[in-house]
């Protein structure tokens, strides 16, 4: 299964970095959409099928927390897998985001951290991800 991913971050550099990490991670990707704030992100979700949302918090126009609240209030997106990728360090705010069903990856992040979180959130197992481990045959008959 290939995942359609939406990356919402007001920093073009960070969006590029996240997308680069996604591509390097080996997670099967379908379409990758980008948006510069929560409002743009909601618009993309109205138009496109998305399996996974990577969301920043501090953004102009509509921040990530507000976007997440609106997603959860909409029956069509209430179950969407969400990973908050943010510099956010407030435990109070992080707890709120987790209560809204988001997983958290703090910036700066190691690529493996983001990859492992994506695998966990999407339910892709290591076997699906790496493929079945081939077993060498010795051609012996039993």
């Amino acid at each position: 299964m290939a995942f359609n991913v939406l990356v919402v971050d007001d920093s073009a550099v960070m969006r590029q970095m996240v997308v680069r990490t996604l591509r390097m991670s080996g997670v099967p990707l379908g379409s990758v959409f980008e948006a510069g704030n929560g409002e743009e992100g909601l618009f993309v979700l109205q138009e496109q099928w998305v399996d996974l949302l990577l969301l920043d918090i501090n953004m102009p126009v509509m921040n990530g927390e507000e976007m997440l609240r609106r997603l959860r209030a909409n029956p069509e997106t209430e179950q969407l897998a969400v990973i908050v990728v943010s510099t956010e360090g407030s435990e109070t705010r992080l707890a709120v985001l987790q209560e809204l069903g988001a997983s958290i990856v703090r910036k700066p992040f190691a690529p493996e951290t983001l990859r492992d979180t994506i695998l966990r959130v999407t339910g892709v197992t290591d076997v699906e991800y790496y493929g079945a481990v081939p077993v060498a045959s010795d051609d012996s008959d039993f």
Partner: protein
């Protein structure tokens, strides 16, 4: 709060360069690094229990390496992306340092990073900084300066 603030800023700056830019900042600057100009600046304003600004100034010469590690070799040649990469460094240092100095339960709102060409910074930044950190990076240097305008008394402290 001074020495703690400086240590926190030093920790946040080092961690950000290491983890985000995959570069290893040196706290002991070589003569060449110390002489390198700080010709590009970025500032990030924050509001919350503390109000202020985090400024990162850097030598232009280190920006391609930062951008290359963050974005890839091809993108690193584009000047606007080099500036944006430094902006993101400033944003992450700011997000990292505030919970360290104000407490992990406090909520801050960070504005988008603003780039200052030639390292010329806003008038307000002539105020006394709460903490200053300098690190050597590649053949240049970077400086992180934390200004706190409201919310706490700010004494100058520095960490190298």
């Amino acid at each position: 709060m001074s020495s703690t603030t400086a240590q926190s800023l030093s920790r946040a700056t080092t961690a950000t360069f290491e983890e985000l830019a995959l570069l290893f900042p040196e706290t002991e600057l070589s003569p060449e690094q110390a002489a390198a100009p700080l010709d590009v600046g970025v500032s990030v304003e924050f509001r919350g229990p503390l109000t202020g600004r985090l400024v990162v100034r850097a030598s232009q010469t280190i920006l391609p390496a930062i951008a290359a590690n963050m974005l890839g070799e091809e993108e690193s040649k584009q000047l606007p992306l080099q500036r944006d990469a430094l902006g993101e460094i400033g944003n992450v240092i700011c997000g990292h340092v505030l919970p360290l100095i104000a407490g992990a339960d406090k909520i801050f709102n960070l504005a988008a990073p603003v780039i200052h060409e030639s390292g010329v910074l806003p008038q307000r930044d002539r105020d006394r900084p709460a903490a200053v950190v300098q690190v050597g990076v590649e053949d240049g240097r970077a400086e992180a300066v934390l200004y706190i305008f409201a919310g706490a008394a700010a004494g100058t402290a520095s960490a190298a």
